[in-house]
């Protein structure tokens, strides 16, 4: 698969390296050149410097041929906007968003986006570890406790 990842932070770089190792063609979009050090040497990813909110940068990164777009920067709003650029301006078939705010993630799930919220995922995995429960499908971790709902 041709994979586009916006953001070479801990999440983006790990995801990129894992997918390259499995034989996929990965292009990373990152604004900050010094973030690329996370990839190490001979990482095998394509890298485009720039912002995933800009259509010309996305085109340079080959978004027209991409099978999937990951928005994985640390900025929720940047991720949410980049995902919509990918969906509406380039019709990328599959899109996955990292969104730290569980409530914001919930709002965009209602609009049909796949949003992964690290805090919910981590809390769920910790709970499963403690209770000795097997890990579950993603959606099971995306559930916000009632007390946190607004």
């Amino acid at each position: 698969m041709k994979v586009l990842i916006f953001g070479c932070g801990r999440t983006g770089s790990t995801l990129a390296l894992e997918l390259v190792r499995r034989g996929h063609e990965v292009t990373l979009i990152e604004q900050n050149p010094s973030a690329l050090i996370r990839l190490g040497e001979n990482h095998g990813c394509n890298v485009v410097l720039g912002s995933g909110l800009e259509e010309d940068t996305l085109e340079r990164a080959g978004i027209r041929e991409a099978d999937v777009f990951f928005a994985a920067t640390r900025g929720d709003n940047s991720n949410l906007m980049a995902a919509q650029v990918a969906r509406f301006r380039f019709q990328v078939p599959r899109i996955c968003i990292k969104c730290a705010d569980p409530l914001r993630a919930e709002a965009y799930r209602r609009l049909g986006y796949v949003c992964i919220t690290p805090s919910l995922l981590t809390a769920g995995l910790m709970r499963d570890w403690l209770l000795g429960e097997p890990s579950q499908p993603i959606d099971a971790y995306n559930v916000l406790p009632d007390a946190l709902k607004i």
């Binding site: 709003n77 949410l80 914001r104 609009l111």
Partner: protein, 220 residues
């Protein structure tokens, strides 16, 4: 009317001031707690709240649920987009308005259904075009999210269209000459109207056809 303005920069401050002067109920939301004191002294403490307009807890406290309009005017397009979308999706706000800082982002805002956008760059540019370009065709407005342009054409005696009957002109598709100003008198444009030097014609033209219309009215 209850208006929530997100972003306490210059645009947000001036907008909140105007709305207050008009007698509207206004709340200005500003993320940077440090500048809230200054904003409060300008607008009144009851009209200013510290908080990130993208956070649902802040939105609830600000009263997004009963807002008649939410206006996002921060300097970051991604923040303005998310504020407006959450206002619609979570709080069913009827009218949302966004400032678009980068004109390249305008098509996206229109496609995701933000009712209205304002781009300072776009406005300044169109004003510049009106005043600087020696063009016979000037943009005076836009309809249908910018898909249809309202333009004004001034005919000189060198205009290719001068002296022609309107029904004989080969107008671009979906283009209408609506009205004209002749000797300070307004006239509806009919098929048998003869275009005369000195006329100012108002036309509706789809954005993609405006270049063809421009050529039709070009000067010899």
């Amino acid at each position: 009317m209850y208006a929530i303005v997100v972003g306490g920069g210059n645009v947000g401050i001036q907008l909140a001031k105007r709305l207050l002067q008009r007698g509207d109920e206004v709340l200005l939301l500003e993320k940077d707690g440090g500048s809230v004191g200054r904003l409060s002294s300008m607008l009144g403490a009851e009209n200013v709240m510290a908080g990130d307009g993208c956070e649902m807890a802040v939105q609830k406290r600000a009263g997004f649920g009963r807002a008649d309009v939410v206006i996002a005017v921060t300097g970051e397009d991604e923040d303005n987009l998310v504020v407006c979308q959450m206002a619609k999706v979570v709080w069913d706000v009827d009218r949302v308005l966004a400032r678009v800082n980068d004109p390249d982002h305008e098509p996206l805002f229109a496609q995701v259904g933000i009712d209205n956008t304002v781009s300072a760059t776009g406005i300044i540019f169109s004003l510049l075009e009106q005043q600087v370009t020696p063009d016979v065709m000037l943009p005076v407005g836009a309809l249908a999210r910018g898909q249809i342009e309202v333009v004004e054409v001034k005919l000189s005696n060198r205009s290719l269209a001068a002296g022609q009957r309107v029904r004989d002109l080969v107008l671009p598709p979906q283009t209408n000459l609506v009205w004209l100003l002749r000797d300070s008198q307004g006239l509806m444009v009919q098929g048998d109207t003869i275009l005369t030097p000195g006329d100012t014609v108002v036309a509706l033209v789809p954005r993609d056809n405006s270049e063809a219309l421009r050529k039709l009215f070009a000067e010899r």
